[in-house]
Amino acid sequence: MKIRLKSFFHFDITRVFDQNQIDLAGDRPTLRALLQEVIQKSDGKIQVIEPETGYIDTEYFVLLNGRESQALPQGLETELHDGDEVGIGMMHFWGGG
């Protein structure tokens, strides 16, 4: 199953993912499974899920097809479908240059 990934981070994510999509294994992978894949592949640099609580870290946002993950009825347990688009990013970019 191919999921389109949009990313907004303080570092170059293209070193972690060379394409803008992730191929997820399994019949019914969830949003949590995708985020765990991202955490694992980034060697923990993208700590989007708080290990203690299992929720999205407050420094990050996660969108599924443009909807906030918190607004999804099933939250991180929402099942993904082929072609879904997931956006993950830092909440703030504060520099002015």
Binding site: F9, H10, G87, G89, G97
Partner: protein, 247 residues
Amino acid sequence: MLTRDDLERYDRQIRYEGFGEEGQQKLKSSHVIVAGAGGIGCPASMYLACAGVGRITIIDSELVELSNLNRQVLHWDKDIGERKVISAAHKLASLNPSIKVIPIAAQITETNARDIIKGVSVVVDAMDNFETRAILNRACVAEGIPFIHGGVWGLCGQITTIIPGKTPCLACLYPQKPEEQTPFPVFGVAPAMVAIIQATEAIKIIAGFGRLLTGQMLYVNLATMDFCLREVARKPDCEVCGSGGNK
């Protein structure tokens, strides 16, 4: 009143349907504050000057340094050691002699913020730190002045347009000071892109056309060419614009 020179200088944008001479006159009568003469402030003020904003006030307390020159495009090698606002004002005046550029070499503080912005059309956030952004946000909410926020890091950026009383303010979105790192990594193209979107928002607000980035944060990543819009909401108990605030 638009002059013959104005009609020629701005001919290509006057031709834009829904803008016209009326929109151009609104720009000419407007006053925009660009808060910061750095990587965002330089391109933002350039495009506002080119577009014919009648008065541009640019505020910054710093001097030009060599490490600024990869992105702060109004400051050149010969300007190192000069006040940024003076360097910027000279270039903007050359770019468009028909507008008035007002340089203010000062820091924005709780004490002077409201006096500086009073009566202007729009404030463009070109700051590089949370504290001053928070001061400007509070002042804009108190004065009812649109505030166009932009920030960058590396090749990423964010932009939102704040209309006091209608949209979330910066304190709704960031009630607490986030972690900051200085100096931070940045390519010149990132603040340039953010600045040009901010300048576009300012032009649309003043002339009254188009759709604004209100109630939405636009995130961009030039490393991946990802763009996304995130809906953002007012915080009813916001200490600046909500029930917990001064207005």
